[in-house]
Symmetry: C2
Subunit: 591 residues, 2 copies
């Protein structure tokens, strides 16, 4: 079927069911950031392959709502499909809701698949639409026409053991139960895959880049139930789970298990990480308590064992990155290197590391104008040769046993301009201000965000993404609850949190700069004004100093830069060949 034929078929199904508008979201029942192929309904329906978007179909209009990252890609991919691009003003917002309210008459019916929308969004949508007497109903028209759909992923899953995770499964369940208790509840339904992975020391390969396994979990006062395709687990692992007090049930049984919860139970769920369809399976008389999953809080606080493993992963990542930048330098001007081939080579160096498992996300490798696209993903068409003068931005990361990395560096190519050097230096200042910050207990990410932006604001420069995100322990490269962003996320930084600091400057059509390190929040001191926290930089990769404009750096920032590069050299040198170490020594020389 062509996309036009698929659209016709969907509209026919809508007519048959008396549906006026059909909404197709980019989601799975676990509200994952990366979707298994089975759930990639938007590429199936219209060919658009961007990571964020929503399709809305009526009999007279079909549109893709997506954000500015994807405007040009969507315009190309949607040609001749019957879908039009609708530009989102604010990314990740359901702006199509206002459109539906505008075009639909009272009494109209809007359909969406309740398995593929969060509880929070479904409730918001129902409220808005119901206020205008528009009904919302559950239909999955896509599945009806998706004949060659791949099945759910069947990858093996495995337990990582207490020596890796630092805590036993039963201890983690006890900690989770303690938080449930402070919320006056003892029942909990979890559907977010990284929360489940953390709780059961479970890892898998069902989703690109995220080492998770399709699963659900229910905690009750007496039981802990893991819902997973049992074929995925070894008998040994099932034994271990059982001994830790976990009973394993078939993945498909989740709806029935939710329906069978006591009618008077009070049940804790995370409305932003639970799908509406499964929420509706809870007993109608149950009291549902909304909040951030307890496991999200708990897993953000990395324990000493986890930190020890992360440090090892950083060493391996640093070796791979050193080799990559040396490889680039040795070959540039001699052989053709493109964004694509560079990214491939970097992946190769990472894969050579002993504990490597996978990349932690799709590498962003952008030269000059492509580097100005913060979420650039190189394609055969966009691929640029890295030659001449400019800046090459590489944002990449790996999954290791055990640890997840995420790092951005900018490599000057040929002769960078003075403006490029200044942008580079200002971004570096922003990174250093964050990395060096001492802050009182209770400080939120939105306070730290401004500190990192100030060196840019001083020159009327800003950037459109957050300054940093939480990162998992051999888990998702993006995890909550904390972040460093202007948004008023009311989460205080705590010792043990690992977060990225990644300010940037993007000059569309010209170049982009972003420098990113991962930092560990730790106790700093106790003064008469209370407890203070600080960051320790975990990432181990030299920061290029050749284009730093020293006149823009304050002396304490220069000290930090030289000390950081010295530390990188000291830690990586034992793991490098003599030739590599000599090369890195030059890169890490103080300026």
């Amino acid at each position: 079927m062509t996309y036009v034929e698929k659209l016709q078929a969907l509209r026919q199904l809508m007519t048959n069911q008396g549906v006026d508008a059909y909404v197709i979201t980019a989601a799975d029942p676990h509200i994952s950031e990366y979707l298994p192929a089975h759930y990639k309904a938007i590429p199936f329906a219209c060919g658009f392959t961007g990571s964020a978007g929503t399709l809305v179909i009526t009999q007279t209009f079909a549109g893709l709502w997506t954000d500015s990252r994807y405007f040009s890609q969507a315009e190309t991919q949607l040609q001749g499909t019957g879908y039009e691009l609708v530009k989102l003003k604010v990314p990740h917002t359901p702006e199509y809701m206002a459109w539906l309210l505008e075009v639909l008459p009272g009494g109209a019916k809007v359909a969406f698949n309740h398995q593929l929308i969060t509880v929070a969004l479904a409730i918001e949508m129902k409220q808005h639409l119901l206020a205008r007497s528009i009904e919302t109903i559950d239909f999955d028209f896509v599945s009806a026409i998706w004949t060659d759909r791949v099945g759910l992923p069947q990858e093996k899953a495995y337990l990582i053991g207490e020596e890796a995770a630092g805590l036993s499964i039963s201890d983690k369940i006890a900690e989770t139960r303690a938080i449930l208790k402070t919320n006056a509840t003892a029942y909990h339904f979890i559907s977010s895959l990284d929360d489940i992975a953390w709780l059961f020391n479970l890892r898998g390969k069902d989703v690109d880049y995220n080492p998770v396994a399709l699963s659900f979990a229910i905690i009750t006062p007496d039981e802990t139930k893991l819902f997973i395709d049992q074929e995925k687990l070894s008998e040994t692992d099932i034994d271990i789970l059982n001994k830790q007090g976990v009973r394993v049930y078939p993945y498909q049984n989740i709806s029935k298990a939710l329906q069978a919860l006591p009618p008077d139970a009070s049940i804790f769920i995370d409305p932003k990480r639970t799908c509406f369809g499964l929420y509706q399976c809870l007993p109608k008389t149950a009291q549902v308590i909304f909040g951030i999953n307890p496991t999200t809080h708990l897993k953000s606080l990395k324990n000493d064992t986890e930190v020890k493993h992360i440090r090892k992963a950083m060493l391996q990542d640093g070796v791979a990155l050193s080799r990559f930048f040396k490889w680039m330098e040795d070959r540039l001007g001699k052989e053709k290197i493109t964004e694509w081939s560079a990214a491939e080579q970097l992946a190769k160096f990472r894969a050579e590391q002993q504990s490597f498992v996978d990349l932690s996300f799709n590498t962003i490798a952008g030269y000059n104008a492509n580097g100005a696209l913060p979420h650039y993903s190189v394609t055969a068409e966009s691929d640029q040769e890295i030659k001449g003068d400019g800046l090459f931005l590489v944002d990449s990361g790996g999954q290791y046993l055990y640890g997840t990395t995420d790092i951005t560096r900018v490599m000057p190519i040929g002769k960078a301009s003075a403006g490029q050097a200044d942008d580079y230096t200002l971004v570096l200042k922003g990174l250093i201000e964050g990395a060096k910050l001492i802050f009182p207990e209770g400080t939120k990410g939105y306070q730290i965000d401004a500190i990192c932006r100030k060196p840019l604001w001083d020159y009327t420069i800003n950037f459109g993404h957050g300054t940093g995100h939480g990162i998992g322990f051999f888990l998702n490269v993006h995890e909550g609850p904390q972040n460093i962003s202007p948004a008023n996320v009311d989460i205080a930084f705590k010792p043990g949190m690992v977060t990225s600091i990644e300010p940037g400057i993007y000059r569309p059509g010209r170049h982009g700069v972003r420098i990113e390190n991962l930092v560990l929040c730790s106790a700093h001191s106790n003064s008469e004004f209370g407890n203070f926290l600080a960051f320790e930089t975990l990432t181990l990769c030299f920061i290029d100093t050749t284009i730093v404009n020293k006149t823009l750096l304050e002396s304490h920032q220069l000290v930090w830069l030289n000390q950081y590069n010295q530390m990188v050299f000291d830690r990586l040198q034992p793991l490098l060949s003599v030739e590599e170490a000599e090369w890195l020594k030059v890169k890490c020389q103080p300026i």
Copy 2:
């Protein structure tokens, strides 16, 4: 009656009505910060005179919940009253609610006066208590025993004219209606006195320090109604109001007017600035829309005329402050000056200014240990002589025709210690970082707050109050919606907002430092990254440089300090005597 007898009488009334707990709040039906004497129920009941507190009475316990500012004052004042001090962990929070939940059995009855509690708090309280089957009811036992109570204030009120306000009343009503329209409503009830004062260009003297008049307002699609004791207004002013489309009704008619609103109206109210009792007068079938009063947003954006007047007020305030600090310097060591007499003298200098109306709040004048109490209010008992060595902190302000000021300066007395000089310099750095900040449109107060604190955080120092608050145009010294604080108040700074910047360092028992200026938010520039805003400092009073530790100042901060003092001298000099100008010139000399 003694306090003990009053408590017995209240308990008898509670018994008669079957009430288990009685809550007495510090409030009036307008949810004002400063209360008319008529509403000072807490001093009447227990003798406690602090500005914040709540009494909770049961048959076996009577307590005053207040915050750390008032712990020692409350301990003294409550002696022998039958009330015990209960220390609030978080200021301005209803922590007594958890206590009520703990001590009361299911089925108990809690009484409070619905006229003296916000809609937001009443709804929260009812929810919490009802969840445990505890009933809340409306009783005013205090009034029943308060035989010598003063009446409502009867001060004259007046209109300030368009040449003062910059906008006509009808224009302001039109702007308010436009915001109501974007909220899909046309009915609006206002009870906050400063909102009403702004909307009707109305000023009065019913409340200490705040030039407002007791009043209510209702906007409907066709009418604008002002509820005020008509004796307060001149016939001319009533004529002007009528011509601007405003009908004046008796103050006491507000309940009936609310009850008479159309049963199907959708009515906008501010749940934090409306009392629960009047909210309950709205038709039960009406749709009530909660939000910040439109007038709160509008009045925060000072127009050009208002700014022109504020600048004039700043000149007069600057002259008074210069004379005061010269007066202090001339007399110190020669005659006895105390915190109290200094504050009196400062008020006198302000009162000599042509446009002076009143102080804008009770002057905080604290020497050494008393300066370490951020909200110190000098009493006959606490009054200290200003002598020897140390720091004298003065936080004060005036109401002028037309403009409100608020300024804090620290005067070194004798020989300040190195530690005092360092604290002073760090606070000054925080002020300068805020004053010099360039920030993108959309920046919230919580982002600016961190910028001002960072110079303190660097030395593991912090302070427990917000960095700044909005301030009225010849209105309340504290006004919303913006502030500069760590709390996640989701309000972006906009050109025209006037806000204080007032970081501080408090060393209990030793000294306190706070330096405060008012700044005007204004457009800075437009770059390829969007619009940027900045602050212009409005306050005109030299900042003492004699104890600045220059080694702690960055060069750009030193430049700002010298330029600021030069500007203060240039602007004030024409208004000073030759002797005063010569004295100020020395104070403003660059360092």
